[in-house]
Symmetry: C2
Subunit: 147 residues, 2 copies
DNA sequence: CTCATATATTTAACATGTTAACTTGTAAAG
DNA sequence: CTTTACAAGTTAACATGTTAAATATATGAG
């Protein structure tokens, strides 16, 4: 018998391992689409969150897009230059800033979403629409349970 | 009437967003434990996979630990120096190498797992043992479905 | 055997993740 | 007011992610 730590299951069967593997499997076909549109996965998250929330402060953006503050600073620097987002000082707070989608950022979302949603359709056909919705709600329930 | 393209849901309700958020929530309490043991999350994945599989080639290790080849090269360089793993040329293939756990690597796993498994217990108590197992198997089914 | 092609790993280059320290502005006692 | 504590972003430093190119060896066709 091979000496193996007693209760550890194989990594792919672990919670963290399954989550990471699933995320990788889901994103693998989507990343090329984002590359086609000229955005990284993180830039895409920023665009989506701005699309969800409208103009927001950087801290809120970072939390919502699951990014760190320094990453947001860096990522926004380029996105502002490319004209995808607009950044303005926060009139309510001299320390902070407000970021919002530009028209061209919005256009990029529209165009790219048409491709990624097609891929999502493929997932729902393979896995089941209801089943996929259930999986997502269970993930959210897990997050709520362990917080 | 033609089927209309579905709209983008809020990022946290998307499949990729829920997977990323769940992974982050699960790992947040575990990362400090790994830091305590002196390993990064990626080094921990390497140790776990070696524990699962025994001595393996680098390519297999990279795939199993969900790492890229260059990352494995870099990570192993330090782990070999620290004596956590042992690296030897592959007698069957002059290009490759074989990596295996050292005794101290195995000891680190044993000790750290006792902490991480305790945290996992907390998850199962909050979320339900059966429910958690079901979630993991659904994640694996999703991976299989979209491959 | 020799050439062409494929595979395993490394190196290099740059983007992002991650933590800590720093800067500036806000808020609240006193 | 002024002092002190806190909060928002940035900068800096280093590890890892990620792709492409380079190196070395293996394999198969002729």
């Amino acid at each position: 018998m091979k000496a193996r730590a007693k209760k550890l299951v194989p990594y792919r069967n672990s919670l963290a391992g399954a989550l990471l593997a699933a995320r990788e499997a889901v994103m693998a076909p989507i990343r090329p689409m984002l590359a086609e549109a000229g955005v990284t996965e993180q830039q895409w998250r920023v665009l989506r969150v701005l699309n969800d929330l409208g103009p927001v402060e950087l801290g809120m953006l970072a939390n919502s897009a699951l990014l760190f503050g320094p990453s947001v600073t860096r990522i926004l620097k380029e996105m502002v230059q490319r004209g995808l987002v607009i950044r303005q000082p926060n009139p309510k707070d001299g320390r902070g800033a407000i970021v919002a989608l530009s028209a061209s950022g919005r256009a990029l979302i529209e165009e790219t979403a048409s491709h990624t949603l097609q891929q999502l359709n493929h997932y729902t056909r393979s896995f089941g629409d209801r089943r996929l919705k259930k999986l997502i709600s269970e993930l959210q329930a897990l997050i709520a349970a362990i917080k």
